[in-house]
């Protein structure tokens, strides 16, 4: 069974985001995915993320945001992870800033259900204090990967 670690490589993790604003941060993480050859089109992917973000704000509390999109611009299911020590304001209506950003990219060919299950697993796992604190304090990308490996992705691949 695949694990969350399989969706991430050290080069799609950035422990010190340069971005200070939401769209800079999403762009920075999307560029990492693009450089790793995980996207067909960075622009089309960013557009899909923006459309999703317009429907709902993806900050989920606890200083975490999970922007996400499923579209044909994605080659391979991936999660890019960014940390911001200063914090980035995500929801214009809320003062709370995000320090941990997980950008989920899913190919359009993947079942919608699989996509939603991935998001659900990701969201649930972040409620684990040990896991979340571990991500915040990890000294390097390898340490982040080690934290992701035990998280099983028990998702069904059939549409129903």
């Amino acid at each position: 069974m695949p694990s969350l670690g399989d969706l991430v490589s050290p080069r799609v993790i950035k422990l010190d985001l340069e971005a200070t604003e939401k769209w800079e941060a999403i762009d920075e993480l999307a560029s990492l995915l693009d450089q790793e050859g995980r996207l067909r089109s960075r622009e089309a992917f960013l557009k899909a993320v923006a459309e999703r973000e317009a429907q709902i704000c993806t900050s989920v509390g606890l200083g975490i945001a999970i922007p996400h999109a499923r579209c044909d611009a994605v080659k391979q299911t991936s999660v890019a992870i960014g940390r911001s020590a200063t914090g980035i304001q995500w929801d214009p209506e809320q003062a709370e800033t995000c320090h941990l950003i997980l950008l989920l990219a899913v190919p359009g060919s993947e079942a919608s259900k699989t996509y939603m299950q991935l998001l659900a697993i990701l969201a649930r796992s972040l409620l684990d204090d040990g896991f979340r604190e571990g991500l915040v304090q990890a000294p390097d990308c390898e340490a982040v990967l080690e934290l992701l490996k035990p998280i099983r992705l028990d998702v069904s691949t059939t549409e129903d």
Partner: protein, 109 residues
């Protein structure tokens, strides 16, 4: 384990993230207090961990997210019920559990 049994239903306007995070937050907060809880999720993935009418009857208190309408909420009619936004439950599940316990307090003697 205490004798208290709670049920909860979580949902959110779109997607699934808040629904599952709120469910997880409630399960963790209840476990910390040794309270039994069953949390049903209503999301784009459909209804999971569904609470039966029997379980609803057996529960002393009910916690609901208030973001959008809960399906089949008539299961919980007459039960002490508290509700709040999913994001608030994610940030602070303890407060809503305390709120529902407070509603139960008189009958707990």
């Amino acid at each position: 384990m205490s004798d208290i049994f709670l049920v909860a239903v979580t949902n959110c306007p779109s997607g699934v993230a808040h629904t599952y995070m709120a469910a997880e937050a409630l399960e963790r907060a209840a476990k910390k207090r040794n309270i039994r809880i069953k949390v049903e999720t209503q999301s784009s993935l459909g209804v999971e961990n569904k609470i039966s009418q029997e379980e609803a009857n057996a529960a002393q208190g009910v916690i609901l997210t208030s973001d959008i309408k809960i399906l089949d909420s008539d299961r919980f009619e007459g039960k002490p019920t508290v509700s709040d936004y999913a994001t608030k439950i994610i940030r602070d599940p303890d407060t809503i559990i305390e709120a529902v316990l407070e509603l139960l307090a008189p009958s707990q003697g």
